[in-house]
Symmetry: C2
Subunit: 334 residues, 2 copies
């Protein structure tokens, strides 16, 4: 668990927390999941299980509907599955690689949702690993594919490549300088979208954002990934320059130090405040102001989440218990 | 300096920061200071200097008007002189004992203002030391005294004993439970008054209050001091019970811990916030929650004040420099 990608710091790790590539695939001979009955879902699952028979050592099978809810939600908090998939009521299945760098959801919005993950900026690597698994599945299953449209998907926004690549960006300085709305307008013209990963609107809790491609038609996966990478690197540069400016402000330096002080001492920490303070500590660590390993902060960003906290405790926690457990975990780590 | 009473913790020191007894005295043959000319002020000073000739080893003479303003104001911040006396433009003088436990202002509101100080609750001791010096001065100077009214003073509220005894109380829990206005009403019926030492109104910064006697006529000094002591001890008991209640609240415990965290890390601290946080740390220390010596907090309550900070730095500081110096001092001490 401790070496999972979401607890590591990768390339451009001061700004890029992680990378994800997702492929949507559907099988011929079945309706889309929304229109499938239980027997059809089981039939489809059987076909996928058979196709993955040789991978049973490297891929673990999860019956998400049978997991305690906190564990299912924790999978979503770690971005291994979609939030909707955590709420599924049977008929679906999840395969997860041992290192949690690859997941395959069966009977989610599409028949198959294949995802690969990595720390930092690693789009080519994620795409290569997704392609490799996609090819092996393609050999054994009949994917619905149109020469004109490409891969057929339940939602037309995924038609074509069926690929959604995304990078999780930590942008505290651009958030502070209120540059995100402008950035959102610019990237949308480039076929990309940026949104806050936690919290509502553009003011994301913890200043964590997801930048992803929107266009899946008339473009190859490689082109889409190259476009995303180029824009991501530009944003990384802007964030770094904004950090240098902002860190010269004594009031901001003071906020960074205080954030560490509060995290090291607080007895109660709600999720929202905790993310905000961790974000400040992360920028302080990345600027060399604080002597806190970046890995420690990155791991905490995942581990302080409600269901992941409860999963670690092995029992359900009410809001007060969570705030206490969160504060204790943060004190211990820092 | 480090052993001055305002840096020590005395009897009932978890609640009572310090005690002060002040005697107002005037000499016959002179108008009150407001109506004196420069020659008369000098004449009076000469008389007092002569009377204190034998004490020149134990009493240091200060020409407050000639001090750098920061040092004069720092004397007021340490309560050794009145704020008005720090602003005086000559014609006055200050005698201060080596241990700063006794001060004598010449030509303040009255000709003489004799004050004794001590850490914690020590009214009898302060009164005894004030009486002793008063007797020695009385042997050499002619005090204006009426058999009917007692000591004559410029302001009629001091007529009679001319004595004002006060204790500085740290009442964070009673402040938190909004009990102070009720308390203020009660003590006024007992001939006492309570007021915030810093900040406006009853919500004192740092929850530090001054409880003092109001009545100076028809009562002996001893009776006034006994009355004050009795009421002070009742308030001490109430504050302690309130602290026990409040410290069972996890949210309050959290605030105490965070206060320490912020004080240990902040790079900028304004006076108001600093007093508020020190107040929380003091209650945490007094309840055994924090491992911070009470003396450290008590000394900081004095040393973080603006002019005392500048005096320690040996130069005038602007607001930003003060906030930086204050934060650095607090980090160093804690």
């Amino acid at each position: 668990m401790s070496t999972a990608w979401y607890r590591q710091v990768g390339s451009e790790g001061d700004v890029v927390l992680s990378t994800r590539v997702r492929l949507a695939r559907n099988l011929t001979g079945f309706p889309f999941p929304d229109r499938m009955n239980a027997a059809q879902k089981q039939d489809l699952k059987d076909k996928v299980f058979a196709a993955l028979k040789d991978d049973s050592e490297s891929l673990r099978l999860f019956d998400v509907a049978a997991l305690p809810r906190r564990e299912a939600v924790s999978l979503a908090e770690r971005h291994l599955i979609s939030p909707a998939f955590a709420e599924c009521d049977g008929g679906s299945a999840l395969f997860l690689s041992e290192d949690e760098g690859l997941s395959l959801m069966v009977n989610e919005e599409d028949h198959l949702r294949l995802q690969t993950f990595g720390a930092g900026l690693c789009l080519e690597d994620c795409l290569a690993r997704a392609d490799e698994m996609d090819s092996r599945l393609c050999d054994k299953l009949h994917f619905a594919f149109s020469d004109r449209l490409g891969y057929l998907t339940q939602c037309p926004t995924n038609l074509g490549t069926g690929m959604r690549a995304s990078v999780m960006l930590h942008l505290p300085a651009l958030t502070e300088s209120k540059t995100i709305p402008l950035l959102a307008g610019t990237v949308s013209k480039l076929g990309l979208t940026i949104r806050g990963l936690y919290g509502e609107g553009t003011r994301a809790e913890g200043a964590v954002y997801q930048l992803s491609n929107q266009v899946t038609l008339g473009i190859t996966e490689k082109e889409a990934v190259e476009n995303l990478k180029g824009v991501a690197m530009q944003i990384v540069g802007e964030e770094r320059r904004a950090r240098e400016r902002i860190c010269r402000d004594p009031a901001y330096e003071d906020r960074i130090w205080r954030a560490l002080g509060v995290l090291k001492t607080a007895r109660l920490l709600n999720h929202k405040e905790c993310m905000r303070l961790l974000s400040l500590v992360q920028i302080g660590a990345s600027m060399g102001l604080l002597d806190v390993p970046a890995e420690t902060v990155t791991a905490l960003l995942t581990d302080v989440q409600p269901a992941t906290l409860a999963t670690a405790a092995g029992k359900d926690l009410d809001a007060g218990e969570r705030d206490t457990a969160r504060a204790a975990l943060v004190r211990e780590r820092l």
